[in-house]
Symmetry: C2
Subunit: 233 residues, 2 copies
């Protein structure tokens, strides 16, 4: 059975890496000793080793070992043999490019569908959707496709942020961007605010955390769902 | 001789469409009766006709006629025969996809290099750079390439915005995103604040408007250049 935590962010304001979600992770990974970490998104351009050390420190507080996918000669086998997978945030274009280059996109989809627990934050959550096309990131590298894992039947917009009505900046709001997406794409988009996550158990998808989430469907006005609610489309 | 105005935005806070830059446009287009407008970027998903009407209204105040590129059966010939070109803002991924689909990317590069005046705002400015990879837009469509006009020897980041030090949002700042770009790309990036533009005359490129611009080179700390300064790399 599919088991996933799809989190908007790794770190909330005033917290440390993963601190806000550690109780949830402790329960989610209770039968897992070692988590396979995918460091490809390289936030701020840090190296795979540096990023893996950050993840290891976060997971160390709940006594889990972390190994970086980049340390395996055969990434496909590493995914197939993983007890659990954590894909960290950073740049989604880089993450998707590397997943395709290392031929693990389909393999991750397969093992997660078969029950390997999956935890994603930010870019690592974006890629659980049908496509990466509602990322907030800069296109710093040209990926072979925008298609992603499709483990949930919609797209994710992590770090969702409401329009700042006081702003004098004329760049588009997040909601405007998602509306532009819906002029030429049909799938729903879940705007996940920081500190929110989706808990996936088989076909059940529940919003967790303190905040509501904003749902965008192509032919409807955007609306909110409350924490604790199930997502159904 | 190459003659371009590369503007961060079409509209500044409290102004109307193009109002802040009309005196500059009046001088720039003084020998031009009709401007060819490229509406492909469709801000907010509006139609090509709707967008062309907005551009026509703006240019009407300086007595210029505007025709939409989408109204021509042969877009290549329309570009070749244009007195001047204006590429409006919106979604850069959509703009670039449509420029390639209509086979006008190279044609625009050619005529502008030969002296056809070019005015761009936002996405229309981003594409004057070497690649579109420092856009702020969502990847709502997969373009055949991120390579753009390369009419200036760097990349543009329009709507450049400084970090809000009061923000509790954990998404990346614009500067962080551009630094990530420079982990895997070498070209300089010009962060053009709203109300700023680059005036290009042949090989001379001068910053105009009230504000300074922020320059990012791969191996240097980011720095500011003052309005009136020439850009040289």
């Amino acid at each position: 059975m599919k088991k996933m935590i799809i989190a908007s962010t790794s770190t909330i304001h005033g917290g440390t890496y993963l601190s806000y979600i550690l109780p949830e992770l402790e329960a989610f990974f209770k039968d897992v000793a070692t988590v396979l970490f995918v460091p490809y998104a390289r936030p701020g351009g840090i190296t795979h080793d540096e990023y893996t050390a950050i993840a290891a420190k976060g997971f160390g507080t709940i006594n889990k070992k972390v190994v970086g996918l980049h340390t395996f000669e055969n990434p496909v086998a590493a995914v197939e043999n993983a007890e659990a997978i954590f894909v960290g945030g950073g740049n989604t274009f880089l993450l998707v490019s590397q997943l395709y280059r290392n031929k693990v996109m389909e393999v991750i989809r397969g093992v997660v569908n078969e029950g390997t627990p999956y935890f994603g934050t930010s870019a690592g959550s974006n890629i659980t959707g049908l496509t990466m096309q509602t990322t907030n990131d800069m296109p710093i590298i040209y990926p072979p496709s925008f298609k992603t894992l499709g483990l949930v039947p919609f797209n994710i917009n992590p770090h969702y942020i409401d329009a700042d009505t006081q702003s004098k900046h004329m760049g588009e709001t997040r909601e405007t961007r998602i509306k532009e997406f819906h002029k030429i794409n049909t799938q729903p988009v879940i705007g996940l605010r920081e500190g929110s996550w989706l808990a996936v158990n088989g076909e059940e998808i529940v919003l967790k955390g303190d905040l509501s989430a904003r749902i965008f469907e192509q032919t409807k006005e955007a609306y909110e769902i409350s924490t604790g609610a199930s997502l159904k489309f």
